[in-house]
Amino acid sequence: MLSYIIRRVLYMIPVLLGVALLVFMLFNTVGEDPVRVALGQHATAESIADLRAKWGLDKPLPIQFLEFLRQIVTFDYGRSFNSNEKLSDMFAAGAPVSLMLTVPPFVFGLILNVSLGLLIAYFRGSWLDRISTLLFIMAMSVSYLVYIIFCQYLFAYRLGWYPILGWEPGFAGLRYVLLPWLIIMLVTVGPDVRLYRTLFLDETSADYVRTARAKGVGELRMLFSHVLKNAMIPLVTYTMVSVPALILGAFLMERYFGLPGIGDLMITAVSSGDFPVLKGLTMVLALIYSGMALLTDIVYAWVDPRVSLR
């Protein structure tokens, strides 16, 4: 397994290089010119040249790309064009907020949605299956933004159960993320339960389930010990690819609830051409994605004895 892991880590190098090249090309071809955005319409040629030089954008593109590669290797992405803050400080301030916003509903949601998926798959074709299908499809048809606006209006403004928005560092910040947690769980319950139901249905109609039933295995044991275990491969894949998105937070949620996380930082950087922030976040995400892909393979081998890593 160790040689497999080393090989996969080495494979990540060309992948990250490709991502770096793509990000660099996109920024320099289709993105906003950060100097013009910063200086506005009536900047003098002199001030444009000054700022371009200060940000190193006057150097030839290959030199700029090499500098970018140096930043990737040293994990030093410099300072934001927008605010001149250190990228490391910005990430350190934003990541805990994003993780606090996304991790708890992700974990609770996973447990809840897998359980619901199992339950509904077990009662396939019953009134519970039909009603839940109808409800979940209705829930999936409503946009994320509508959930945010509606829940904020009803639960925070009208009923006063939660703060409308805000943020405080540390434990005190928890109360500001309670309503966003509920909304995230509400939004994900429809698509997730539908997916899990389908995964489990494939398993419940498999031959081994019929054999287990014939041998007198109880329904609960069959569901949790056999069906759930055999559905683990797609479940793990789906769960693992969701993990990198957690660090990005939920951009709309952050904006509407005044949470200073990474998602909002990323969107602001896109609109203002803040290349250092974009570079840093994209490369960190690419690294996490690659890491999660490797971890997914390792988990496959752990949950399914048929899988071996060579």
């Binding site: 906003e32 010119d33 013009r36 955005v37 910063a38 200086l39 506005g40 319409q41 009536h42 900047a43 003098t44 040629a45 001030s47 000054d50 700022l51 200060k54 300072r79 927008n82 605010s83 001149n84 803050e85 301030a93 934003g94 609770f108 606006i149 904020q152 209006y153 925070a156 403004y157 006063g160 159960w161 939660y162 703060p163 409308i164 928005l165 805000g166 943020w167 005190a172 928890l174 109360r175 309670l178 309503l179 947690w181 509920l182 769980m185 904006r255 509407y256 609830f257 005044g258 200073p260 909002d264 930082l265 602001t268 051409g273």
Partner: protein, 585 residues
């Protein structure tokens, strides 16, 4: 999960301030993150609204008087001008101190001196520190442009103690002079801009890069918490020198705006400024009494307010709970014609036809809910010499006249006229709706208007290259003087300067140069009228409208008057804490 989160949220309920008598103002219109709190490194509204509370400038705009008027801030009196009109003599207010900060020996803020002013001027002029706002004072002060050039050559090796600005001279610790290149009545205006806020050398040297996040000023407030993307908290500077003005504009006394006259500023203990990027949650927070001041966007205005011939009003229950304010902004929207374009640039009658066809009053009423004023000159209404002071001839929407002009242009009913392309700097819904309105205006004339929605930098590239027929633009006053708007059509400001249409008329230029050196008054206004008549003849630009800022306040705010030159005049505000603590729920 729901029950658990509810009990937690209930246990941590929000307390309404005011109960303990402390005056805490919660600002609901901070919509963007500040770029930098270093005065010379910022040129954005989000930074300026913080800087103007923690730093001071030599001059500031009078809080109440209109038209906007300069008044001393760090100065003991207005500067004196020499007989030749070239040298200003300044005297600093005695005893003004910088905020206590670890950058000073013993952490105790010291007294402001002329050296701080000269140091701040040097940093403003230094090409290595100020890439953005030097244009505000470019060419005005003797030796300042040369100083800037030297700093550019020297780079980081520049030493301010070895390099002087020839026109800035220290007389003593409290007094200094500035010599101008030419007599210029506008030369003092930048001294009220946040980029020329006075700051101490110790703080710059102590904090280095972090000075952008660690302001040390003489202002009415000190930075207690600075979270660029969270809540900023300002706390009262107990040693602040300012007092509330005892004079105002007509009607201010009746509206209670002089009730605090002569009181020591600031009147608030703290100001909380959360970052509120979305309007909807800000409005909800305002409605439950957790914010004192919010701006209104189009959707909320439609729901909560209306405009009639007497002004702006809130509807129903909103009127009982809140107050509404409106104030003309110091900006204008326009369309430029590219005067070098072989079609629109060379056909005056075609431009005149388009000017007649644009229905600006309808646009303001239908697309802006009345939150704007039709312009008859390039100058927004609150600025001296605008249409409030002078009667200008300009194009009123008239489809029949537009059709006649189109015949004169050689395109009766639009026949034979190729589509005209108009450039936009964005592609959001609001811009698209604006275009649709203009497209419909010209369609009635038989003229086909085609949009080019693009990114900001693509738009700038196209405009700078002169590769356009018409472009949508806007101008926000750098300072409240008509010159700042008439210069949009001055030939020496042609592309890539603000005269993007490359309008070039000798008579206009001569009038511009003449009025530039004159004080406001009938003589100057007569020149404005001549300039507008030239613009009416040539139509290099169609003025569309000047926006009006509209927002809401809680009824417990005192001394609120929207001042478009001071975005966040917190030092003048006061609160009725008894009412605030009760809220209305």
């Amino acid at each position: 999960m729901l029950a658990c989160s509810l009990s937690w949220a209930a246990a941590c309920g929000t307390n309404q301030p005011g109960g303990d008598g402390r005056k805490v103002f919660r600002y609901g219109a901070r919509t963007g993150s500040a770029k930098s709190l270093d005065p010379v490194k910022q040129f954005d509204a989000a930074s300026a609204e913080l800087i103007q509370n923690v730093y001071d400038t030599l001059l500031e705009y009078h809080y109440l008087k209109r038209p906007y008027e300069l008044t001393p801030s760090l100065l003991s009196k207005m500067p004196e001008l020499s007989a030749d009109g070239l040298t200003y003599r300044f005297e600093l207010r005695a005893g003004v101190r910088f905020a206590d900060d670890p950058c000073f020996p013993g952490g105790k803020g010291r007294v402001l001196t002329s050296d701080d002013v000269i140091y701040s001027f040097k940093r403003f002029a230094d090409a290595n520190t100020n890439e953005q706002s030097y244009v505000l004072w470019q060419g005005a002060v003797v030796g300042m442009d040369e100083f800037r050039e030297q700093t550019r050559k020297l780079g980081k090796a520049v030493r301010y103690d070895r390099l002087e600005i020839a026109g800035v001279r220290k007389l003593d610790a409290q007094r200094f002079t500035i010599r101008l290149n030419h007599p210029n009545p506008l030369a003092l205006l930048p001294l009220a801009a946040s980029q020329l806020a006075i700051h101490p050398r110790e703080a710059v040297e102590h904090y280095r890069e972090e000075f952008e996040r660690h302001p040390v000023g003489t202002g009415a407030f000190r930075m207690k918490v600075y979270s660029r993307r969270g809540v900023v908290i300002l706390t009262k500077n107990p040693d602040y020198f300012g007092v509330y003005p005892s004079e105002g504009a007509p009607g201010d006394a009746q509206r209670g705006l002089l009730a605090s006259a002569g009181k020591r500023l600031p009147l608030l203990d703290e100001v909380h400024m959360p970052l509120l990027e979305e309007t909807q949650p800000a409005i909800l927070q305002f409605l439950v009494g957790q914010l004192e001041w919010v701006a209104m966007d189009r959707d909320n205005f439609l729901k909560m307010a209306y405009r009639d011939e007497r002004g702006f009003h809130l509807k129903g229950d909103f009127a009982r709970k809140f107050t509404i304010y409106s104030e003309p902004m110091l900006s204008m929207e326009y369309f430029f014609f590219n005067m070098d374009d072989p079609l629109v640039g060379k056909n005056r009658a075609l431009r005149q036809a388009i000017a007649y066809a644009f229905d600006n009053a309808g646009f303001i009423s239908e697309m802006k809910n009345g939150r704007g004023a039709v312009l008859r000159s390039p100058v927004p209404l609150p600025i001296a010499g605008s249409q409030s002071d002078v009667e200008y001839d300009w194009y009123d929407h008239d489809l029949e006249l537009a059709k006649r002009k189109l015949v004169e242009a050689g395109y009766p009913g639009g026949k034979g006229l190729p589509p005209i392309t108009i450039e936009y700097r964005a592609s959001n819904t609001s811009v698209r709706q604006e275009f649709e309105y203009r497209r419909a205006n010209l369609a009635k004339l038989g003229v086909k208007l085609v949009p080019n929605f693009q990114t900001f930098s693509a738009f700038l590239d196209r405009v700078d290259r002169g590769n356009f027929q018409m472009m949508s633009g806007g101008w926000q006053a750098d300072y409240p003087d008509a010159e700042n708007f008439y210069q949009l059509l001055y030939s020496k400001n042609k592309r890539p300067g603000p005269n993007a249409g490359n309008y070039n008329d000798r008579e206009y230029d001569a009038l511009f140069e003449q009025m530039k050196a004159m004080p406001n008054g009938p003589e100057r206004y007569a020149l404005f009228a001549k300039m507008v008549s030239l613009l009416e003849r040539d139509v290099p630009m169609v003025f569309t409208y000047s926006p009006i800022a509209v927002g809401m306040n809680q009824r417990w705010i005192k001394n609120f008057k929207r001042n478009m030159m001071i975005d966040t005049p917190f030092k003048y505000f006061d609160l009725d804490t008894a009412k605030q603590s009760k809220g209305f729920y």
